[in-house]
């Protein structure tokens, strides 16, 4: 058995989003079974089924350093307040 990740989207609306995963013996049956596991009620018009082994998994050490960079969260509110104070 292989493990697959299933992504769905409604046409013309949101981007693809992760619906869940499933086990199947191969690609062809994975698509059939994904339909029954995740799209029984028309949850999507388009479906991607990806073998988990084909997903490149990033090293957590690569992402970790970016978790501590508050200067990248600047929403401009401090600048706006400063300018407002100057106008007053």
């Amino acid at each position: 058995m292989r493990t697959y990740e299933v992504f769905l989207r409604k046409s013309g609306r949101d981007p693809f989003s992760h619906a869940g995963s499933l086990d199947a013996p191969d690609d062809e049956l994975a698509v059939l079974l994904a339909r029954e596991a995740y799209v029984r009620r028309g949850e999507g018009d388009e479906m991607w089924v990806v073998d988990r082994a084909d997903i490149r998994h990033a090293d957590e050490a690569l992402l970790g350093p970016n978790a501590d960079k508050p200067h990248r969260h600047n929403d401009g509110s401090e600048v706006a307040e400063h300018r407002k104070a100057q106008r007053a």
Binding site: D23, L29, L32, A37, R40
Partner: protein, 261 residues
Amino acid sequence: MSDTTAAGAGAGVLSAPAREVVLGLADDEICLGHWYATWIGLGPFLEEDLAFTSIGQDELGHARALFALAEPDGDRDALAYGRTAGAYRCCALVEQPVSAWEDLFARHLLYDEAEVVRWEALRRSSVPGLGSLAERVLVEESFHTAHARGLFLRLMRGGDTARERVGNALARQLPLALGLFEPSIGAEQAVADGVMAEPFSAQAARWRERLEALFDEGGLSVAWPTAVAEPGGRRGVRSDGWQALFEEMTKVYALDPAARW
């Protein structure tokens, strides 16, 4: 409870031979749908469990649509659940209990291949609404057969145990499955009236061709049975599995015939 299927009586728009054809199919669908429901949660793995449940629900949906055609203004529940045993028209394949999952799988494979052939014969039916229903159902059936065939071919590559279990289950179910194509009462007239495109014998031959090609592809030798096991379903003869099935299937209806979801 009233017997609503006395041939022709109160049948409204359907001729008696047309009604026999429609009920033969509807009664197969509702009974097989019930067997799928009894296996919910027991499939070999979650994904197949969901797929079987979904297919069973489709079969119940087909039954519902066919009962509506047979009884446009009447009580569909009474037609589905309230007839006397001899007024049902299902075949023994869908009456017998399912003792193992591979037997349900064998039934799925044999039944859905038959369904495609049966519904194709109804595409241009003279019965109002039946042709368009056939078109809708055949779309669902293309999934059912893709699923059954896909799983069959993989099980055939899955080693000796898988081959043996599937082969034995097919050998058990196939003699019963021949009953799917036993002629309904007045079948010749139904063909003459354009209710269906070809007689059951011709449908049975096409079903056999489809299956034998598939068995060949899977490298499985299956001895084709010489006679139907438990014949007579289309004429109202019930097999020994019927009573228990009927009691289980009609439990809610027996408690409260007016119950609604």
